[in-house]
Every structure is written in structure tokens, then in C-alpha cells.
């Protein structure tokens, strides 16, 4: 076996620092940071896209961008924010925090974890690479057939879109399995399911949602791939296809995806509120159960995205009903959060401000969501700015505010340094104001008839004043995000030292040092209560750092996850080459398959850890 393992052409990486150490890391904390920085970088890209959109719509009949460019911008803004910002930002936190919260040294499959990240990154880069070969995709983030078929989309950008999404989906599936197994199997002694922090609970639910929701998208994208590359007829209407097939598959993925985006934020808020209210979560079992119910029901509401497609009375009634039902567990969560603050001693540090902002904004997004369940009302509001307002309240006022609460809450743990409270409060209030100035008027634009996805409108359509207000709000929102970046930079350079538990929080991640050792806990803690750091009898005390020779053995870095992810994205590139020249494409695909198989082989026969280079040297 050892001989087989050593077939590798390149020696196994062992560097603890430098670029190679990041490229080959399998440490969940480093992977979490990689996800976080990637999300931040893409959020700047997605933000710029939205600012150009707002510039174009600030006044009637503008031509700052062409209609083709405008369509690309809203397509990539949506795709980027969903798949390359909010999802990886959630992944950043669940990578970094879940093993710490459950008292584990790493995730169950550290190399698979690295693979998830790289395959996600490469998929995202592949999609964005379309910009350099012509134009961004311009078919909407939802890519409705038959607009995406060769007959109606002549540019190749759609191929980049579907291949990029397909590749990123592999990363999401792998992460889903990894975190389900990690949370179910690697909990510290005494950490029963009903003692887990809520963020870990919501991550567990998200893991199952990823596992169950991505296959329908994979199938839909595969059909589209076969249509576009091999002239098949899944969505070819002139061959009799029913284009609603795409919509059903897409939204069976798409609605659970909404909960993939919001549940991590709900988990963060459920951890932040007790810490800053100085009391336990109100109705912990109900909040957990409500999360599980939302996860299940999330698979039964997809056709409310399709009320105007002519589903017929029975289907409309069923999906209107299920959509109303899913509001119940959501309401339960919200009331329990209010119950958590009731009777507390509320400390309004920045994480708490964002958590409270989350509750208020998510409430508004939830209420406008219930309005859409009223089918007749939806027939007027579908595909108008009312919908745009609704889902930005859910995904920005909800997800992003929740993620911001998490960032301010856990940044000291991740970096060992505090963020400025003063800048943080400015950030919160400006973001809160900017967000509401940007998105609240969109409700009114919707009910006075402004459709989505239009690159222009006339002065006599009566939408100019509100659009100017919305565009002004987007500048305030942008400025608040710049304040965040300044705050992060200052903190990294000269932020106040954080200490292990600056917020006096109750969960295990605060028991270890800030930032944590690469092995997380010197001694795996034993847990005796739901709030181990608050419960004096059950207090967890982390011993001082271990001397190097006593450090626990952690999995060594590996090239193979990176190589395998690379070969997978290159298979997708091979298809693009095949379009241009069949033989070269096939040759390229064969080479990449060999590389991929070699990577799997190397991965399988790689021992979990190598000894440190110094030790190797001493033996020879």
C-alpha cells in the first residue's frame, strides 16, 4: 500500500504557510476563510453589476448600457449573488464554525471539503470567463426554456452559464454530504442533537436540502446541455417539447434553494440573540422543529413561482395552500426570537443590531411572500418590481443581514481581533437606511405596474420619481458596504485583541483560542448542557496550547482535491472546445479524464497524514 501511495509524481505538500499551503489545505478553518474571501470578492462584482442596473434605470429612456448588456447584468447579478455570494458566505461560516461548535477537530472528510471549495470556485470562474469570450449570459438567472435553446440564444454565453452552474452544483452536493456526516458523527461527547447550537442545527438542515435539491437542477441542466450540445429535444418546442418541464425542475431546486440561503442566517440569529440578551433561546425545541418543518415544506411549494403559467385550479389551490402553511413555522421562529429578547438584558453590539435588523426585514419579506400566495394578487404582481422588493427583503434584509450579524459576531474568533463598534454601528444604520430606501419603494413600483427585467421605460409610464429614489438608495447601500471593508481592513491591521470569548457567549467555539489552533481543541471537550460556557457546573475549560510534539495528528495537506476539481472543470471546458473543434475537444476531454482518474486514485491511496519534514529528515 505504501508503495502505491508513493506513485505520486509530486511529493506531498507539507508547508504550513505560503500559497501552496492554502492551495492544498484541508483545514476546515482555512477552507472557511477561502469561501469567505471568495464570497466577498464576488459580492463586489455582483454589487457593481447591480449599480450599473440602477444607473440605467435611474431615469427614463437612458442608454448607459445596451439591452443585451442590461440582460447580461441582471442575469449575472442574480446568479452571482445566489451562487457565488450568499451560498459561499453561508458555507464560510458553516465550514469555520460547525466543527468548533460541536467540539470536533475537523469535518468528517477534510479533503472532500477542500474539493467542494475548489470545484465551486472553478465553476464560478468558468461562468464569469464567458465575459472574455464575448459576453455574459443573458437568459436570466432562472434560464427559462426555450429562450435558452440554440434556436433563441445564439451566443455561447449560455453554455458557460449552464456548465458553470453544473460544476458548482458538484461542490454543493459534496459539501452537503460532508456536513450531514460531520454533524451526525463528529459531535463531542455529551453534545446530543438537542444540545447543538442553532447554527449547527440549521447547517444540518441545509446539508440535507443541498443533497435533495441539487439533483433536480442537475437533471434540468443536463437536459439543456444535451439540447445545446447534441441537438436533443428536451426543450425544443418545434419538436413538441413542453417548456414547463424546465420550470418545474428549476423551481423544485429553486425553492429549497431559498431556504439554503436563509436557514444559515436564521441559525446565526438564533445564536446571536441569546448571547446579547444574556438568556437562553426561548423555545429551543420549537425553533429546531420549525427549521425541520421549513426544510420539508420547502420541497412542496415550488409551483408558487408558476401561478401565471396556467397550472389550472387544483394545482394553484394546492400550492397556494402549501405556501400559506410554510408561513406558520416561519412565524413560530420569529415569535420565539422575540421571546428570547423578552426579559433579557439586551446589549446592542453590532452583531445584535444586525440580528434585530434581520428579524424586522425578514418579517416584511415574509409578509409580502404570503401576499403572493393569494393567487389572484400574484397574477398582478408576478414579474413586477413587487417581487423584486419581496425577495430582496428576504435575501438582503434576511440572508445578508444575518450573515453580517455572523461576520461581526465571529470575526474576533476567526482573526483574534475585534472590529470597531463605532464603524460597525455606522455600517448597520447606513445599510439599514440604504436597504430600505432602495427596496421599499420597489413595492410601489410593482403595484403601479413596472415589470422586472426591462432595460428601459418611458417618462409617461409614471415610474421615474420612484426609480430615482431607488437608485439613490443603492448608493447609500454601497457606501455602507465600503464602511464594512474599511472596518475589516483596520481590524486586521490594528484591531483590539479579542481574547477567547469577547461576547461572553455560551457555545463551544468560544472555549478555544482566537483564532483557534489548527487542531481546534487540545482536549476534546465533554458537554453537559446546551450552553456549556454559561453553565458553571458544566464549564468547559480549554487547557493552554500544547507543545508541538504533543499536538494531535491532523490530516496533512493534499494536492488531489485541487487536481480533481481542476480536471472536472476542464471536462466542462473540453465540451466548449468540442463545439469549436470536435477532435481537439475529444482529445482534451480524454486527457482531463485521465488526470481526474489519476487524482481519484492518488486521493484514495493517500495516507491520512505524513510526518513533518524535520522528522523525515531526522530518520534519513
Amino acid at each position: 500500500m505504501v508503495a502505491l501511495a508513493n506513485i505520486g509524481l509530486i511529493p506531498r505538500p507539507v508547508h504550513p504557510t505560503g500559497v501552496w499551503s492554502w492551495l492544498t489545505t484541508v483545514d476546515h478553518k482555512r477552507i472557511g476563510l477561502l469561501y469567505g474571501f471568495t464570497a466577498l470578492a464576488f459580492s463586489i462584482l455582483g454589487g457593481i453589476e447591480s449599480l450599473i442596473i440602477r444607473a440605467q434605470l435611474a431615469a427614463p429612456n437612458q442608454s448607459i448600457v445596451s439591452p443585451e448588456t442590461y440582460n447580461s447584468l441582471f442575469t449575472m447579478h442574480g446568479t452571482t449573488m445566489v451562487f457565488m455570494v450568499v451560498m459561499p458566505a453561508g458555507a464560510a461560516f458553516f465550514n469555520y464554525m460547525v466543527p468548533l461548535q460541536i467540539g470536533a477537530r475537523d469535518v468528517a472528510f477534510p479533503r472532500l471539503n477542500a474539493f467542494s471549495y475548489w470545484v465551486f470556485l472553478f465553476g464560478a470562474l468558468l461562468m464569469n470567463f464567458s465575459f472574455f469570450v464575448g459576453a455574459f449570459p443573458d437568459i436570466g438567472w432562472f434560464g427559462y426554456a426555450p429562450l435558452t435553446t440554440n434556436e433563441y440564444t445564439t451566443t455561447g454565453a449560455t453554455d458557460y452559464w449552464l456548465l458553470g452552474l453544473q460544476v458548482m452544483g458538484i461542490g454543493s452536493l459534496a459539501a452537503g454530504f460532508n456536513f450531514a456526516v460531520t454533524i451526525l458523527n463528529l459531535r463531542a461527547p455529551g453534545m446530543t442533537l438537542m444540545r447543538m447550537p442553532l447554527f449547527t442545527w440549521m447547517t444540518l438542515i441545509v446539508a440535507f436540502l443541498l443533497i435533495l435539491a441539487f439533483p433536480p437542477l442537475t437533471i434540468a441542466l443536463t437536459f439543456l446541455l444535451f439540447d445545446r450540445f447534441f441537438d436533443m429535444n428536451f426543450f425544443n418546442v418545434s419538436a413538441g417539447a413542453d417548456p414547463l418541464l424546465w420550470q418545474h425542475l428549476f423551481w423544485i431546486f429553486g425553492h429549497p434553494e431559498v431556504y439554503v440561503l436563509i436557514l444559515p442566517a436564521m441559525g446565526i440569529v438564533s445564536d446571536v440573540l441569546p448571547t446579547f440578551s444574556r438568556k437562553p433561546l426561548f423555545g429551543y425545541p420549537m425553533i429546531v422543529f420549525a427549521g425541520i418543518v421549513i426544510g420539508f415544506l420547502g420541497f412542496g411549494v415550488w409551483a408558487h413561482h408558476m401561478f401565471t403559467t396556467g397550472l389550472g385550479g387544483w394545482a394553484s389551490a394546492a400550492f397556494a395552500g402549501s405556501t400559506m402553511v410554510i408561513a406558520v413555522p416561519t412565524g413560530v421562529k420569529l415569535f420565539n426570537w422575540l421571546g428570547t429578547m423578552w426579559g433579557g438584558s439586551l446589549r446592542f453590539k453590532t452583531p445584535m443590531l444586525f440580528a434585530v435588523g434581520f428579524i424586522a426585514m425578514f418579517l416584511l419579506g415574509g409578509l409580502s411572500g404570503v401576499m403572493h400566495a393569494v393567487v389572484p394578487v400574484d397574477t398582478q404582481q408576478q414579474d413586477t418590481y413587487f417581487i423584486v422588493a419581496h425577495f430582496h427583503y428576504v435575501l438582503v434584509g434576511g440572508s445578508i443581514f444575518g450573515l453580517m450579524a455572523g461576520l461581526y459576531y465571529w470575526w474576533p474568533k476567526m482573526t483574534g481581533r475585534m472590529l470597531s463598534e463605532r464603524l460597525g454601528k455606522w455600517h448597520f444604520w447606513l445599510m439599514f437606511a440604504g436597504f430600505n430606501i432602495t427596496f421599499f419603494p420597489m413595492h410601489f413600483l410593482g403595484v403601479i405596474g413596472m415589470p422586472r427585467r426591462i432595460y428601459t421605460y418611458d417618462a409617461d409610464q409614471g415610474w421615474a420619481a420612484l426609480n430615482a429614489l431607488v437608485s439613490a438608495g443603492s448608493l447609500v447601500l454601497t457606501f455602507s458596504v465600503l464602511l464594512l471593508l474599511v472596518n475589516l481592513a483596520i481590524s486586521l491591521r490594528r484591531g483590539e485583541k479579542a481574547g477567547d470569548n469577547p461576547w461572553e457567549a455560551p457555545s463551544l467555539e468560544w472555549a478555544t483560542s482566537s483564532p483557534p489552533h489548527h487542531y481546534n481543541f487540545a482536549v476534546v471537550p465533554t458537554v453537559r448542557s446546551r450552553y456549556p460556557l454559561w453553565d458553571e457546573e458544566a464549564n468547559v475549560v480549554e487547557p493552554p496550547p500544547l507543545p508541538p510534539h504533543e499536538e494531535p495528528h491532523m490530516p496533512s495537506p493534499s494536492y488531489w482535491p485541487l487536481m480533481l476539481a481542476f480536471s472536472i472543470v476542464m471536462l466542462a471546458v473540453g465540451l466548449l472546445i468540442w463545439q469549436w473543434h470536435a477532435l481537439i475537444g475529444i482529445g482534451f476531454i480524454v486527457v482531463m479524464m485521465v488526470l481526474g482518474l489519476r487524482s481519484i486514485y492518488g486521493w484514495v491511496y493517500e495516507p491520512p497524514a505524513v510526518e513533518a519534514p524535520a522528522a523525515v529528515h531526522a530518520h534519513t
Binding site: 423555545g283 429578547m341 421599499f440 403601479i448
Partner: protein
């Protein structure tokens, strides 16, 4: 630290709402607040019901939250009460939203049941609306010559007070038929036969329609108009549309020269129909009685001579991405285009 309350954002939100409501009151031709049919009336009353319900819930919960945030803010000497939950309370706030939702679900289900089973009246106007990238075609069943089909494009004429039943089709990608004043939207999906709930326009006027499903480059410019008119006006329009022998324009006039360009020199007739003349193309929009239209380019520009000329000369300068129709500035002289415009504008109900 400053007194941490939610008063500031709440005031801000209220102020913003007031401004926004004020602005929304300015009329928009696509507003959902000025219904002109029985169907749109019903939707608006449901909209008001759900909006009031949602606003009450929102204000109550936000109010409770503001109270909590102020009352329980950290102060010297305050100890947080270590409560873990309260079963009765939690059951109560599970049941409360259920009751609110049932109250909303009942009218929703009643609407679904009645609107999806609403019968088509015997004297209903039957229309098939078809979406093309990026314009609309309307076919009236039985109103054409000899009980056949009457075809028009981009401007739908309807008599006030008569039920209309519209079938929706698409020949290419998915479009959506939406006239907020008359009826909520329903998608036009290729290979599917969707139907709008039959409705009765109850007000005379010109109403704006818009494609509401993203359908490609010129989606924003895929609009249409509905003219709801008196029965007499509607009948006159139908009769003139069906006129099979249209008198030729006076020889030598601009109209006559324009007709010749339209039918022969420019080749327009290969794609467009003008009933009662030699023009019988079926690729582009039907142009019979074009002079009666208030817009050109699928509802995007007022049909002034200048705009029609701009359209014929170089349609992609006003509707980027438009398919098929050539840029006639390349092949026809300015005078010829002007003649075509004069001819088209002369096609009116006498």
C-alpha cells in the same frame, strides 16, 4: 452608548412609506389600482384585503419588537430572566398565524374555484392572442369575412360591457399577456393552450398591456394597447377591417406612390397583410387599418408620422434587437419612406 432603540428606523420607514405612497398616486398607465373590468375589480379587492391584513400583522409585530427592545435594553442592575420557553405561549403563537392564514386562504380558494370554472357567455368575443418575439397578434373568432377569423396586431379592440374570452399562444419563447386594468397576467407558453378567465371590460378607454415574461433582447419593448370602445364603434371597426375591396388611392397621390412602394418596390407586402389589398404576407404584424392605431412598434411609440418614419427607416434604432424586418433606410429613398408612411396613416375607418 446611545440609547439603542428601533425608533429611528421605524420613523424612517414611515416617512419613506409616506413619500412613496405620494409618488405612487401619480398615475401610471400600468397601475393595478384603476381596474376597468369585473375581473380586475375582484383582484383589487383581494389585494386590499391581504395588504391590510399583512400591514396589521407587520405593525403589531414590529411594535411588539420595538417595545421589547426599549424595555429590556441593558441597564445597570438588570439581570436577564433565565427563561427557556413557555409551552402555552408557543402553542398560542403557532395557532394565531394559522387563523390569520385560514382567513386569507378562504377568499383565495373561492377565487381560484370561481375564476377557473367561469363559463364563456354565448355572446362572448372570442380572441386568440399570440406572442411573437416581440409583438402580439390578435385573432377574433367568427368576426372575419364570412364568419372567418379577423386578424389584427398590437392593438386589441373590445366592446365595453361584452364578455371577452382570450386564448393565449406563443410561436417562439414564453411571453406573458398582462393588461393590469383589465386582467392579471397569464403566460403565453409554446405548445400549451392557456386561457384567461373570461372578463367584462366595464369602462371605455385605452389601456396599456405589457409582456411580463422575460423573452429576450426586446422584452422591455414588447407592449400593446387595448381599446375598449362602444359597441357601435367596435362594430364599425370590425366592418371596416373586413372590407374586401378597398378603393385605390387617387393615382399620382402620395398614398398611391406609398402603396406601390409597400406592395412592389419595398417588398413590405411579403410579410405584412393589409386586408382588401394585394398585401397578404403573414410573417409580420397585420397592418389593416394601421391609421387607426395610436402606437407603432408594439405599443412603444405614439404613431406620429415622424415615429412611423423612424420605424420604417431603421426600426432597430428605436427597438434594438428587433427581428426580421430590414432597415429600409438602406434600400429605399427618404421620399419613398415618407410615401409609405402617408399610405399607412391613410388606412382609416372613413
Amino acid at each position: 452608548m446611545p440609547r439603542p432603540t428601533l425608533i429611528r428606523p421605524t420613523l424612517l420607514a414611515v416617512a419613506l412609506m409616506a413619500i412613496a405612497v405620494g409618488m405612487a398616486a401619480c398615475t401610471s398607465p400600468l397601475t393595478t389600482f384603476e381596474p376597468a373590468s369585473d375581473a380586475a375589480d375582484r383582484i383589487l379587492s383581494l389585494y386590499i384585503l391581504i395588504t391590510v391584513a399583512a400591514s396589521i400583522v407587520g405593525i403589531l409585530v414590529l411594535g411588539a419588537m420595538a417595545y421589547i427592545l426599549i424595555k429590556f435594553r441593558a441597564r445597570p442592575g438588570r439581570k436577564a430572566q433565565q427563561i427557556h420557553g413557555n409551552n402555552k405561549l408557543e402553542i398560542a403563537w403557532t395557532i394565531a398565524p394559522i387563523l390569520v392564514l385560514v382567513a386569507i386562504a378562504i377568499p383565495t380558494m373561492v377565487w381560484i374555484a370561481t375564476s377557473s370554472s367561469r363559463a364563456v357567455a354565448d355572446d362572448a368575443i372570442l380572441v386568440t392572442a399570440t406572442g411573437y418575439q416581440w409583438w402580439f397578434e390578435f385573432e377574433y373568432e367568427g368576426l372575419g369575412p364570412d364568419g372567418g377569423t379577423l386578424v389584427t396586431a398590437n392593438e386589441l379592440h373590445l366592446p365595453v360591457g361584452r364578455q371577452v374570452a382570450i386564448e393565449l399562444r406563443s410561436v417562439d419563447v414564453i411571453h406573458s399577456f398582462w393588461v393590469p386594468a383589465l386582467i392579471g397576467k397569464t403566460d403565453m407558453v409554446p405548445n400549451r393552450e392557456n386561457r384567461l378567465e373570461p372578463f367584462v371590460p366595464n369602462e371605455i378607454g385605452e389601456f396599456w398591456g405589457q409582456c411580463a415574461e422575460f423573452c429576450g433582447v426586446a422584452h422591455a419593448n414588447m407592449r400593446f394597447r387595448v381599446h375598449v370602445e362602444s359597441l357601435a364603434d367596435f362594430d364599425a371597426w370590425v366592418a371596416e377591417m373586413n372590407e374586401q375591396t378597398r378603393a385605390d388611392p387617387e393615382p399620382g397621390s402620395a398614398e398611391a406612390r406609398g402603396k406601390r412602394v409597400f406592395e412592389v418596390l419595398g417588398g413590405c407586402a411579403a410579410c405584412h397583410t393589409i386586408a382588401g389589398t394585394a398585401a397578404a404576407g403573414r410573417i409580420g404584424p397585420d397592418l389593416t387599418l394601421f391609421g387607426e392605431r395610436t402606437t407603432v412598434g408594439a405599443g412603444i411609440l405614439p404613431a406620429t408620422d415622424e415615429n412611423v418614419r423612424a420605424w420604417v427607416s431603421d426600426l432597430r434604432s428605436v427597438k434594438p434587437g428587433a427581428r426580421f424586418m430590414p432597415t429600409f433606410a438602406d434600400t429605399l429613398s427618404e421620399a419613398q419612406i415618407a410615401d409609405v408612411v402617408t399610405y399607412l396613416k391613410s388606412l382609416r375607418v372613413p
